[in-house]
Amino acid sequence: MSPLQIHAQPSRATVWTLSWLLFAAGLTSYFWVSRGRHIENPDDRVMPTIRQMGQGFADALLKPADDDEVAPDADKQSLFAKIRGGMLWKDTMATGRRFLISMALLFPAVILGLHMGMFPYVGLFFLRFVLFFDKIVALSLLPILFIAFGIDEMAKIMLILIGVGPTIILDSFNLTRGVPKEQIVKGFTLGAGDFAVTYRIVLKQIWPRVLNSIRLNLKAVMIFLFSGEMIASQDGLAYRIALLRRHMGMDTIIPYVLWVALLLFLIDYGMRVFNRKLHPWFQEA
């Protein structure tokens, strides 16, 4: 059977090889070009070697940022204390806090979407505005955001909410509308009230899909968060990347980017597992 047919059945070894092939090709070509650049110019900073990146990552992990005070007994600290005082840990904490707050604030958006879908007056009031708002490119209105929210934490979180909130609201709204009418009627005939129907029949059903949609929007959340940190901030992963760019510290930037990718992957994976555990009856995701 030709391997290019729909019915092809790759062996285990082929599956493994094929799925890692692009990684290998990417890495090989990177290090090949990097090596060439380093032979030509030993001080090259654009494409650091694996050793430089390892060193950069170790420094980021164990050493505090250069503008931070160095603890007097820095040499004697345990490894754990060193990591906690290190640049990477502090940046991750700062970005992580903003991320968690904005994720938490996305849940009211779900509730709003649900109510818009269930209660005609709420829907009428919000729908057109949210539809309009969804199409606004928030990043181009920054000067107005600064007036409304300053340039501190609030502004960064609002940027995420304005960017991602409407999508989540509209998605929950549409999912709510997608719940079969018969079930709602049945709920009423069995004596449920408005809120019981809303929360115990509809919300329960849309919940796994809503979680899925939040999960798919993780990257958008991260993009808005990074833009916010690059515009004005004193800490955070994107702040560090913006600063390091100023002197081409690619040996630290590349490990940072990979670290962010890993974190995002883990959150995504965690949410998928959580969703499956919570809603074993839901098969779509």
């Binding site: 654009v46 920054l142 000067p143 300053g150 600063l243």
Partner: protein
């Protein structure tokens, strides 16, 4: 499959023959919007650059960038010449091992960069407040020099910098009245100063000649064996000084050139003149030559390289500022002789001054 391969190899062949077809060596010059560099765009648009390029048998493309990407492109060797400040020339290409030569010292900031405050704060009161600026650029250099000149350098530790992108810094400061201090450059400075209750407490006219705007070329381009790199540099210098002569003409004649320059960078004549007033542009080659050969340049570069080193702008692994050495026109070197990475070459300005271009 075979068809695909044939088509692809055909394309590769075509691309190869296309790039071999041009006999005139082509060079790319990158610039970003700034009062001292806007003339480069006009130079290209008005045909002035082409005239000089033709004279020296080269072709020159001029490309506009944002400032940071222009530096990236220069370091990655995607462009051959680039407009940048003396500080960035040292901490970007030179520190990244890209041997760089300054061929034109165009101007110095004589008030273009400034420290602005609300509530009439003084420099002594700034520590403890947050300072909006693009960290690790000339803005931070200016601010820390100001503090040092006023004997406040011990207070620098208490200053909290907020790294703010230059594209949003004016909006961020004007929009958020809880911010008290901002350091930035023109035309943003003029824009911010129009806000209520904002005053200027320090600017680059108090450290004249320290923030220099250069035109730099990669040294390996200059040293090409066929001499095309040098012809490229000569063409730039020739066009530059012809243009500055036109710019400095009094009355409507000069105004016409200035307003064309302002136009290509989407500015107005009035605003451009306002920026020129705080820029010490070396309109003539002899004045630029004198600056480049002066001892003051050495003192400036000493300050700049110490600043860059202490802020780790020369790289985490650079153990001494001497590892990124600077060579001056008289042959003297700051740093290790075998690690010269930035060169100030006065010869093109000298040729222009002698009318030999």
């Amino acid at each position: 499959m075979r068809k695909l391969i044939i088509t692809l190899s055909g394309l590769v062949f075509l691309a190869g023959s296309l790039s071999a077809a041009g006999n005139t060596p082509t060079f790319t010059l990158g610039w970003s919007v700034y009062v001292g560099w806007d003339p480069y765009q006009y130079m290209a648009k008005s045909g002035l650059l082409k005239k000089w390029a033709d004279k020296y048998g080269v072709a020159i493309k001029v490309q506009r960038f944002d400032y940071a990407p222009s530096l990236d492109a220069f370091v990655a060797k995607n462009i051959d010449a680039c407009a940048m400040t003396n500080m960035e020339a040292l901490d970007m290409p030179a520190a990244a091992g890209v041997d760089t030569t300054s061929i034109i010292v165009g101007d110095y900031s004589n008030g273009n960069d400034a420290v602005l405050v609300r509530h009439n704060l003084t420099l002594a009161q700034v520590p403890g407040h947050r300072v909006l600026l693009v960290e690790k650029t000339v803005s931070q250099y200016l601010f820390e020099r100001g503090m040092t000149i006023n004997n406040l350098s011990s207070e620098l530790k208490r200053v909290k910098y907020v790294n703010t992108s230059d594209s949003d810094i004016a909006g961020a400061f004007l929009g958020d009245p809880s911010q008290d201090v901002v350091v930035t450059w023109k035309p943003l400075v003029s824009q911010i100063l129009r806000g209520k209750g904002i005053t200027k407490i320090f600017d680059s006219s108090k450290i004249p000649g320290e923030i220099l705007d250069l035109m730099v070329v990669r040294t390996d381009v200059l040293n090409r064996p066929d001499g095309s790199g040098q012809r490229f540099a000569k063409a730039i210098a020739g066009a530059w000084y012809e243009l500055t002569a036109q710019m400095s003409k009094p009355g409507p004649e000069g105004d016409k050139v200035l307003s064309s320059i302002a136009e290509v960078s989407e500015d107005t004549l009035e605003s451009y003149k306002e920026q020129l007033a705080t820029t010490h542009l070396f309109y003539t080659a002899p004045s630029a030559l004198a600056m480049t050969k002066s001892d003051q340049l050495k003192k400036t570069m000493e300050l700049v390289r110490q600043f860059c080193f202490s802020h780790r702008l020369l790289g985490d692994k650079t153990s001494s500022p001497d590892d990124v050495a600077i060579r001056f026109p008289d042959g003297s070197i700051q740093g290790k002789k075998d690690r010269v990475r930035l060169r100030f070459d006065a010869s093109y300005m000298a040729l222009a001054a002698g009318g030999k271009l």
